[in-house]
Amino acid sequence: MTWETMTGDIIIQDGTFAFLFKASGTIYKGQAVYVKADNAVTACTADSSECEAIGVAIDDASHGSQVGIAGPGNIVRCAGDADIAPGTLVYGDADGSFDATAGNATKVGGVVVKSDGTVISSSYYDTQIMVL
């Protein structure tokens, strides 16, 4: 699957202030990110250590630019890899999506607040989570 741009605001309820990090590689609005290097984040993949999501990108960002990340405590929109039921714990996964299966992740990325079954792209669903 490939990522497709999300439209509309990412933050549904901002419980905490967003963080600024440097983008390592291109990051798209709505993607789950992990800490790649000092003060730098990258979109999550399914690989070990690359699926430890710390938040969701608020805007698109090119490599080396600053990107706002909605971190723990915020309710945000993101891409679920299925129509995931509210209350389900989710983990960072391929293409910066979230998945109900931990896979290689050891850290919970968030808990689903709403999934209305709206498909963003080929297989991703517009999903709201609280980042944990």
Binding site: G15, F19, F21, V35, K36
Partner: protein, 126 residues
């Protein structure tokens, strides 16, 4: 090894505000603390405590202190060589390390040797 208080400001990016607690024993600026009693935080003397947050100031026992907890990106003392992205937790004397069972923070700025680094404190533990 004895804990060394930090001199820099503790919040790097305060995602949430610091909260107030009372200290049990002396707590040093930059030290990781845990909840030891009602509204009270303390430096851990054993491993295995859950990190409540990082102390914003140095305070003696019974004083009020500001602690930066979950949702904040803060400076702290990292023990050993730790790279960015590593999941970490609270160790003896308030050091932050991956060598503990309970982890509830992720390193956002690592260190080549023991010293001042930066972590994002999480709402859940690994």
């Amino acid at each position: 090894m004895a804990f060394t208080a930090l001199t820099s400001n503790i919040p790097v990016q305060p995602g949430t505000g610091g909260f107030k607690a009372v200290t049990d024993g002396t707590v040093y600026k930059g030290q990781g603390v845990y909840w030891s009693a009602d509204n009270t935080v303390k430096e851990p003397t054993t491993s295995g405590s859950t990190l409540a947050g990082i102390a914003g100031y140095t305070k003696t026992t019974g004083e009020q202190i500001v602690v930066y907890g979950p949702g904040s990106l803060v400076r702290c003392q990292l023990s050993g060589t730790i790279t960015a992205g590593t999941l970490v937790g609270l160790h003896i004397e308030g050091w932050i390390t991956p060598d503990v069972v309970t982890k509830n923070a992720v390193v956002t700025k690592g260190v080549a040797t023991t010293g001042e680094g930066e972590i994002l404190i999480l709402f859940t533990q690994v």
